[in-house]
């Protein structure tokens, strides 16, 4: 089985400050890990992914995420938050060997960047 936990329903940060959105995962094999963002009344948009290689992956809009195998975490980060980053963020995981390529999503974290 594969699962994802996002321990924070809501994260508030001041504009210009660094932000972190937390994610931990569980899979039986090796993981593929993803972050998606959802703006109001829109579908999810892909931000970044970890497949293999460098543990620090860079994605769209200045976001990055660090894969930590020992802690089974994949936290999303950005050095300087913008008001326009305010959105709902989802972490997702897939076991490398899972047929069908379906992702399991976390419950989401609402990020609010305060001006």
């Amino acid at each position: 089985a594969q699962s994802v936990a996002q321990p924070e329903d809501q994260v508030n940060v001041a504009e210009g400050n660094p932000l972190t959105v937390k994610c931990t995962y569980s899979v039986s094999g090796n993981p593929y890990l993803f972050w998606y963002v959802q703006y109001p009344n829109r579908g999810l948009q892909f931000l970044l992914k970890y497949i293999t290689g460098d543990n620090l992956v860079k994605g769209s809009y200045g976001f990055e995420a660090e894969f930590n195998k020992s802690q089974t975490s994949f936290h999303l980060k950005k050095p300087s938050a913008l008001v326009s980053d305010s959105a709902l963020y989802f972490c997702a995981v897939r076991d490398v060997n899972r047929r069908g390529r379906q992702l399991t999503f976390g419950s989401g974290t609402q990020l609010t960047v305060l001006p």
Partner: protein, 115 residues
């Protein structure tokens, strides 16, 4: 470039009525998915398809049926709607191979209310 298109975008049903949601993608993707999104629960997989003529159950398949008669279309049916099926439904698709591992492309969602 339309991407993933869902119709209808909004629908209100009475308990016991039936309806079909249509998902169409123009990216020649092999894999297609139907998710439902409920507050605090993230996205949960209903059914998916790994190619034309094939379907499989996801995490929450009860009360839903699907068909993939054409590669570009994936239909989600509710035979007898229940209030518990009030949700926002998202269709997604992705490639089979080609190095583009795992990214899902989402439609903008279909909001269904069952009274």
């Amino acid at each position: 470039n339309a991407g993933v298109t869902q119709t209808p975008k909004f629908r209100v049903l009475k308990t016991g009525q039936s309806m079909t949601l249509l998902c169409a993608q123009d990216m020649n993707h092999e894999y297609m998915y139907w998710y439902r999104q409920d507050p605090g629960m993230g996205l949960r997989l209903i059914h998916y398809s790994v190619g034309e003529g094939t379907t499989a159950k996801g995490e929450v398949p009860d009360g839903y049926n699907v068909s993939r008669l054409k590669k570009q279309n994936f239909l989600l049916g509710l035979e007898s709607a229940a209030p518990s099926q009030t949700s926002v439904y998202f269709c997604a698709s992705t490639w089979e191979t080609g190095g583009r591992t795992g990214e899902l492309f989402f439609g903008e969602g279909s909001r269904l209310t069952v009274l």
